[in-house]
Every structure is written in C-alpha cells, then in structure tokens.
C-alpha cells in the first residue's frame, strides 16, 4: 500500500469519525412559517433571509465553533398546524424556534411554549418572534420565553399617524385590513390615533376581509373608489397587499397608501404599474437605501445570492443578538440565552442603538417611514426590477418608539 492510499484511508476514517459528531454539534433553529398558500411568498423570503445569514455565520466559523442550521417547517399559516410543527421541531431535538407571520399563530405558539417549558424543566424552548406584531404578545400575553424583534403594531401606527398629522391633503381615509387579531389591532388603533391627532379627517371606510384567501380584490377596490377616499391605511401583508395593490393598479386607483408592508413580494410591481410615484408609504425598521456601509454590504450580498431585497432587517438583528447571547452565555441552553437576550443593547442593521426591554421582551429600534418611487443617484437599490425603490422620508429615534407595557412577566424561579 502506497503512501497515497494510506492518506486516503486515513481521510476516509477521519470522515467516518468526525461526521456524526459534527452533525450533533450544529445549532439548529426551527423556522416555522407559511411555505404554501397565500402566505408562501412572505414565508419563502423569510426562509431565504435566515439561510443567507446562517451561511454567512458558518463561513466565519459558526458560533462557539459550531455550525448553525436552519430547519424549515410549513405551518400553512394555521395556528393548529403550527403547534404540530413546533412539536415536530422539539421532537427533532430543536430548542430554538423562530416564527413571524400571523399574530394568531404567534399567540398559539407563545402559549404552547410557555406550557411546554413549565412541564419540561431542563428542556425549555426559546421562541424568537420576528414579525408578529399584535401588541397583546408583549402585553397581556407576554411570556419569558418569547422575544419580539419587530416593533409592535401600536408603535408603527403611532409613527405613521404622526407623519400623517401635518399633511393637510389627507381628508378622507379608508381602512382595509385582514380579519384577525392583527388586522383588528391596526384598525382600532388607526381610528383612535387619527381622531386624537386629526379629528377633521373623515374615515370613509373600515373594511376587514378574510386572511390570505382573496384572489381578486377588484370588488374591494371598486368600493374604495366609490367612497371617495384620498388615502388608505392598511396592515395587509404578503399576498393580501400585493394583490390589493395589483387590483388598484388595474382599476387605476389614485390614492396615497399608508402601509405596514407594501414592500411584500409583488407589492412594488403593483405600485409601479399604477405610477404612484412616492405616494406609497411603509413603516419599517430599515431600508436598503440608507447610506450605511455595513448594511448595504449585506443587502448587496443577499441580492447577489437570492435576487431578493432584504425584507427583514430585523432578522439580521435577531441573528446578531442570538449569536451574541450564545457567545456570552457560552451555552445554547435556552434559559441561559434568554437571560442574556433580555436586556441586550446592540447596534442595529441600519446603524443606531436598539435595546431589548426586559419587562416585556419587546425590542426597540429606530423606525423609518419610507416612500416608494423614482430613485436619486445616491440610492442604488430598486425593488423587483421596477427601477423604483424606497426612500427614507422620516426617522423615529429609538427613544421615541418606547410605549408602556402592562406585561407582568412570570420568570423561571432559578
């Protein structure tokens, strides 16, 4: 046997020994979101973002020299189905789960996780919520094992209505939202805040429609048109905002849009088609065109790899904080991670300070109001090949986003 074969044998032997050990050592994160049906486009974009970030981390040697692995589960945007998927993830030995789409789903998961952790001491599960923004989750239903990385719905509405306040061209507003806890949170908060800040504004419509089930919004658009509204407020996301914008484009509806998620997959295409140049606004925690080099590098790399823009800057924050917490705790034990996470301060994706509030596990960060339209020379990123992109028109500093909480958190006794 020559030296070459010997080396080969040794390499094979080494592989046999090291492979199973390595597999055990990966840090698994369960990604539980809709990957089929009306929420699929949103879920898919989220999954790609997580995978991209995990790949980046692994390329740098992982965390505690262990690889990060994202395992995806399709919850069909259904609370019942989500619990089955959470159980599946737990059975597969995963103890960190992340979910975002659908506050109904999030409420079910946070309840489930709280109960599971009570009953299975030593095997706790950590729940990182990256997008479900119903305020209840960090108030009445708050829970030690749940962390929210997006600003909650009230914070977003506060910022949006502050921006609307001085705009005297707004006279008639139409509310259209999805018929579930989050949609109702948006509409009631919009009514409350508008009547306080701009009592002269007339609310000419207050619509709720089934969640991710409508495939043709033409009847709704006809109704909006008939109401004579000049502005729309909507918390719609995923297919519900993309198809709404598309139907509005088809009918040629010329109004201003104040949205949470107009940037959802398919949304920008609809806006461009209607020619609503800088008349569609979105409130979110970041933007591609903010001139901050570290963020734009990530944006560029993600676009090069998956051909999608970064819809979730908060996911970058989430992964950054999770990694820091694991490194500080020198452990992947959910309880130890949670204790490190709960009062963490970080530099967020687009620069600036953000912090996790220990009292309710709500993350606070600078928020931006952006408008979609033609780009200036110093704004390099467009969306969905429309040639149009997002421009930041107002920034709300972290301190100004802090709202009180009624959370009375039950902490584990240790």
């Amino acid at each position: 046997m020559g030296a070459k074969q010997l080396w080969g044998l040794a390499a094979v032997a080494a592989l046999c020994i090291s492979a199973p050990v390595k597999a055990q050592e990966t840090i698994k994160i369960a990604f539980i979101d809709p990957l089929s049906g009306g929420g699929a486009s949103t879920g898919e974009a989220g999954l790609k973002t997580y995978q991209f970030l995990a790949d980046q981390l692994n390329a740098k040697g992982g965390v505690l020299s262990r690889r990060i692995e994202i395992v995806s589960y399709d919850n069909k945007l259904n609370p019942q189905e989500s619990l089955i998927q959470v159980q599946k993830a737990i059975d597969a030995g995963i103890r960190i789960i992340t979910q975002g789409n659908g506050s109904g789903v999030a409420a079910a998961i946070t309840d489930f996780v709280a109960k599971y952790n009570d009953r299975n001491p030593g095997k706790e599960v950590l729940y990182l919520n990256y997008a479900a923004v119903d305020p209840v989750l960090t108030n009445e239903k708050c829970n030690f094992w749940h962390f929210r990385f997006d600003a909650n719905s009230d914070i977003k509405m506060e910022a949006l209505t502050n921006y609307m306040k001085p705009r005297s061209n707004i006279k008639k507003v139409y509310l259209i939202n999805q018929d579930y806890s989050f949609g109702h949170a948006v509409r009631s908060e919009a009514r409350k805040m508008l009547s306080a800040k701009r009592p002269d504004i007339q609310i000419v419509g207050d619509e709720v429609h089934p969640l991710q089930k409508i495939t043709d919004f033409a009847p709704y658009v006809a109704k909006i048109k008939a109401s004579g509204a000049d502005s729309i407020i909507t918390g719609n996301w995923g297919q519900d905002i993309a198809l709404l914008l598309k139907a509005a484009a088809d009918a040629g509806l010329q109004v201003d849009w104040y949205t949470y998620y107009a940037g959802s997959v398919g949304g920008p295409t609809g806006v461009k088609q209607t020619g609503l140049n800088h008349r569609v606004f979105e409130i979110s925690e970041g933007s591609a065109n903010i001139p901050y080099a570290p963020a734009q590098e990530i944006e560029k790399a993600l676009r090069a790899k998956y051909d999608i823009g970064l819809l979730y800057p908060r996911v970058v924050n989430e992964m950054r904080m999770l990694v820091t917490a694991i490194e500080q705790a020198k452990s992947t034990d959910p309880g130890k991670i949670a204790l490190k996470l709960e009062d963490m301060k970080v530099t967020v994706f687009n620069g600036g300070e953000g912090f996790m509030r220990a009292a309710d596990h709500q993350f606070f960060q600078p928020m931006y109001i952006k408008s979609f339209g033609e780009l200036a020379a110093n704004e390099p990123f467009d969306e969905e090949k429309t040639g149009w992109g997002w421009r930041v028109i107002a920034k709300v500093d972290t301190a100004d986003t802090v709202l009180p909480t009624v959370c009375k958190m039950k902490r584990p006794s240790t």
């Binding site: 990957l35 089929s36 049906g37 009306g38 699929a40 486009s41 898919e44 399709d74 018929d179 619509e207 709720v208 429609h209 089934p210 089930k213 495939t215 043709d216 033409a218 009847p219 709704y220 006809a222 109704k223 048109k225 008939a226 297919q239 198809l243 088809d250 009918a251 040629g252 509806l253």
Partner: protein, 316 residues
C-alpha cells in the same frame, strides 16, 4: 354610486362566467355518472399550471389551446382507466376515488412547481386598460376572460341543444340503458364528456391563472364554491349551473360593497344588545364582512327549501 354598481356588475358577471366554465363540466359529469367529481377543481388547477409552463415555452396563446387539450386527455384517461373500473363497485368508491385523485394531483403539482405561487403574468399584449367607466379602468385581460367564457357558453349551448351529439348526451343523461340499446357507445360518450368537462375546467384555469393567483392551493380555494354552484343551480341542469354561477358571482361581488349590518336593519326599533356580548358582535358585523360565507348560506337555504336546486328536476 352608479360607477360602483356598473363596476360590480362587470366584476360579478366575469367571476360568475369563470365559475360557469367549471360548473358546466362538473354538472354534466354528475348527471351522467351520478358522481360528484371532487377532483374537478384540480383539473382547473392543472390547467393553470400547464398554461403557465407552456406560456413560458411557447407563449400565452398556444398555452390557451394546448393546456386544455392536455388536461382533457388526462381527464379522459382518468375516466377510462380509473373511474370506469371503480364504477362497478358503486357510487361510494367512485366518490372516494375522485376525492383521492384531488389529493394526488395537488401533491404532484407541489412536487413539480412547489408550494409558492408561480409568476404567471398577463400577456403583454393585453396588459392595458380596455375602457374607462367614469374614472375606473377595466383591464383588457378581464374583458378577454369575460368574452372567452361567454363564447364557450354559447358553443356548449349550441352543441347540446342543436346537434346530434348533444341529443345523444342529453338522452344518456337520463336514460343511459335505453341509449345503449339503441346502439350508441355509452362508455365512449361518458369518456368524452369527462374529457371535455376537464378541458373546460382547464380553460378556466389558463385564463384565471394570470388574473388570480396560480398556486397549489387554488383548487382548494375554488372547489367548495363550485359545489355550491352545482347544488344551487340544480344537479345536472346546465341552465341552472349558468344561472347559479352568475348569481353567486354577483352576490359575492355586491355583498363586498354593502356595509349594512343588523344594527342598521333594526335601527328603527331602537334595540341594541350590549357591545361585547356575542349578540353585540353579530349585531355590528356588516354584510361585506360575511361576503365570503354568503354562498354557503345560500347552499344551506336551498337544500332546506328546495332540495332539487333552483332549476333542477332531481333530488340532490
């Protein structure tokens, strides 16, 4: 207001005609074989995905012809080698067969095209507003959907009432044994009707694909409404299916634009249940909010009051 009414009529008729394209095949198949074909909406979905794929390779117009033909052949094969064998065991196995088939088709579609929506676009040629009513644009593509469905309805109507083939089909609907004794090949008639019914559903799929959303749950979204159409119209009645399709299309579209709630209806009586109670919630729900369940409400009412359906002659 007039603008809203006209636009709603256009939208409602267009959705109704689309429903009819599918319901016509379903109701014909039912009246011939006595089987409610659960997989019918799956053929609609297959049409949309085939259309998407062929439009990629050859363009939209060839897709509009080829995809329905392919689905029609698949439908005929399903009848010939699947249903006909199961037929001997009676109706329940047939029902289960189509039920299973719907799942198989959905899984296959997910395996090939994935679970997320595919990017099936309106052809550039038709991507412009056809006309403007007051201030609302009506897209040219929707006009195409309307005209295609109306054209097929006319052809179907003429074939069934004015030709010899139509005569045989109509006879086979009610007296299959008699027709067979007269020397007609009834199994062939069954197979052709199943094939053509599937092809009609597929046409609906190809034209609806770009306007609605082409994804693997589209059969599930539309299937239940289809049964409502067929039952409300009267099983086996083509005219009934046509009327019920339009009715449901219009009901759904108009209900969305009506904000009336029980509170408004009973406003004159000055009764208001306390807000927050169950009755209080019901009191303020608007017709627009319950628009999606109205067809099912109609289904239940029809089954209670006139089980034969509005135009049907036989018990459902």
């Amino acid at each position: 207001m007039l603008e809203l009414v006209i636009i709603s009529i256009l939208n409602g008729v267009q959705f109704g005609m689309l429903l009819f394209l599918m319901a016509s095949g379903l109701t014909l198949i039912f009246s011939m074989m006595g089987v409610l074909n659960f997989a019918h909406a799956s053929f609609y979905m297959l049409g949309a995905f085939f259309g998407f794929q062929i439009a990629r390779w050859l363009g939209f117009w060839p897709a509009l012809l080829i995809a329905p033909a392919l689905v029609g052949i698949i439908g005929a094969l399903v009848e010939r080698y699947g249903l006909r064998n199961v037929h001997r065991q009676g109706h329940v196995p047939e029902l289960l067969f189509t039920f299973g088939l719907a799942y198989v088709i959905e899984e296959v579609v997910q395996m090939i095209w994935g679970k997320a929506p595919v990017d099936f676009r309106v052809p550039a040629l038709l991507d412009f507003p056809a006309f403007t009513i007051f201030t609302t644009n009506y897209p040219a593509y929707k006009l195409l959907m309307l005209l295609t469905s109306a054209g097929i309805f006319l052809v179907l109507f003429i074939v069934l009432t004015r030709t010899r083939i139509g005569l045989v089909i109509q006879a086979a609907l009610s007296h299959p044994h008699m027709v067979a004794h007269l020397g007609h090949n009834v199994p062939l008639v069954f197979m052709s009707v199943f094939g053509v019914g599937s092809a009609l559903a597929a046409i609906a799929g190809v034209i609806a694909g770009p306007a609605l959303v082409t994804q693997s749950n589209m059969a599930g979204l539309l299937g239940p409404i289809l049964f409502v159409v067929v039952v409300v119209g009267g099983l086996g009645s083509l005219a009934g299916a046509f009327a019920a399709s339009l009715l449901i299309g219009l009901v759904q579209t108009f209900a969305v634009s009506v904000n009336t709630s029980l509170a408004d209806v009973f406003a004159f009586a000055h009764v208001t249940p306390s807000p927050g109670s169950i009755l209080g919630d019901l009191w303020t729900v608007t017709l627009a909010q319950i628009a999606p369940i109205l067809p099912y409400l109609l289904l239940v009412m029809v089954l209670i009051l006139k089980p034969t359906g509005l135009w049907g002659t036989r018990e459902t």
